[in-house]
């Protein structure tokens, strides 16, 4: 993983306001995410966590006010796995539509082995379980060298050992100068500082 400078802003949001169905989810939300930071977005169901992530990554372009500036390449993992059931995990990663680099076979194999899918490289993805689908997606985190990771509920359907590994991975990404913004209802147990953004109460240190 390339080393990056900590403290460099990778994403800045200015006075974001979002209304859905006549209800104000958040207003005047301003923050700057810098390299070397791990942010957890909290909030009850329907608080607008996913909507906020979609605004941050640029999928939502209308329906909100405020500005988002992105200064670094980002990787977004949403609720859906974005895996093709007809392709094998290897093909899914090699032909991925997110437009990242072309990975070699060894890179893909080692990434899949690290997420516990050794031996599953060439089976059709529709035979894999939901948790294994999520794990193929996590292999993308290992392959990618995007600075900013935007993860929507990354722990869903992942077993306990997998959650620990993922938390270690997040910590090492942050330590290496990356930045992570994630939503989760789970309390994080990581070796680095976590900044909380509670959509109910606003910013908390």
């Amino acid at each position: 993983m390339p080393t990056r400078d900590s403290g460099v802003p990778v994403l800045a949001a200015r006075s974001l306001c979002l209304e859905r169905g006549g209800r104000e989810l958040f207003r005047e939300l301003s923050f700057t995410i810098c390299a070397g930071q791990l942010w957890q977005i909290e909030g009850a169901n329907g608080a607008g966590k996913t909507s906020l992530l979609r605004i941050l990554c640029g999928l939502s372009r209308y329906g909100f006010t405020g500005q988002v500036e992105r200064f670094a390449p980002l990787l977004y993992l949403g609720h859906q796995s974005a895996l093709k059931a007809l392709l094998t995990p290897r093909e899914n990663l090699a032909f991925h539509v997110s437009g990242e680099g072309c990975y070699g076979d060894e890179q893909i194999e080692s990434a899949l082995a690290r997420v516990g899918l050794y031996g599953y490289e060439d089976v059709a993805s529709h035979t894999l379980s939901a948790g294994q689908h999520r794990r193929v997606n996590l292999a993308r985190l290992l392959l990618s060298d995007a600075t900013l990771w935007l993860l929507d509920e990354p722990f869903t359907a992942i077993d306990k050992a997998g959650v620990d590994e993922l938390q270690a991975l997040l910590a090492s990404h942050v330590a290496g100068g990356g930045a992570v913004v994630m939503t989760s209802h789970q309390a994080l147990d990581v070796s680095c500082d976590v900044r909380y953004l509670n959509l109910g109460t606003g910013l908390a240190a």
Partner: protein
């Protein structure tokens, strides 16, 4: 690792779409089978006299090809929308203009190209004069590419809807009409012994225009569909 350039990424998408199509051979076969079935209906409806059939053949073949293209255009982006791949595609650093062209290219290779390739068989079934077969294949090759591009616009706009199938027909059938007019006119001209070139040139010009403009509309349609 730097992201691949637009052209390289296009080739990757094209390979992905073709691989997906090959894994579902039924979806490639369906439009061809539909083409065969509908063409087989006409002798039953119009009467089997070879002269009657030959008179209708250019129009019948073109309308049938158009309908079987319409059947498949709904599916261009649907599965990618449902499994979240489309979100990832929209976030890719490469221009969406080129990416959607790759999708349409793959769609044309698995529908239009094959339809044009098998059309001589059905032309013989309808007693189309032999001198018009080259014109039929040529006009279908250009015309189906145009239909795929136009269909892609409808697919991009309706991909977010649960049952977009009917709506997509209403949206894009009016845009199909010019293609049908010049496509079947080319075949008719060949039947009558007139030069086919001008019609094919007009189809080619429309194709150039569609390649330049349709991806813009598709990209905008996809962004709206994902945002909704």
């Amino acid at each position: 690792m730097t992201p691949p350039g637009a052209v390289q990424f296009c080739i990757r998408l094209l390979r992905r779409q073709l691989l997906l199509a090959v894994r579902r051979p039924l979806e490639i076969g369906n439009p061809l089978l539909f083409f065969a079935m509908v063409v087989a209906l006409f002798p039953l409806g119009l009467g089997p006299t070879p002269e009657t059939l030959a008179g209708f053949a250019p129009g019948v073949l073109w309308i049938t090809a158009l309908l079987s293209n319409l059947l498949t255009s709904d599916a261009v982006f649907r599965s990618d929308f449902e499994d979240g791949s489309l979100e990832q595609l929209l976030l890719a650093p490469q221009p969406l203009f080129m990416s959607v062209l790759a999708y349409i290219g793959a769609h044309w290779l698995t529908t239009g190209l094959l339809l044009a390739a098998v059309s001589p068989v059905f032309a013989l079934m309808l007693n189309l004069p032999a001198q018009a077969i080259v014109a039929l294949v040529a006009s279908l090759l250009i015309g189906t590419a145009l239909l795929s591009l136009i269909g892609g616009i409808g697919a991009a706009l309706t991909v977010g809807l649960k049952r977009g199938g009917m709506l997509i027909s209403l949206l894009i059938l009016p845009l199909y009409m010019p293609v049908l007019i010049f496509g079947s006119a080319a075949v008719q001209a060949a039947v009558g012994g007139f030069p086919v070139g001008p019609y094919l040139a007009i189809l080619g010009a429309m194709l150039c225009l569609a390649i330049a403009l349709a991806p813009l509309a598709m990209a905008a349609g996809l962004r709206i569909s994902i945002d909704a």
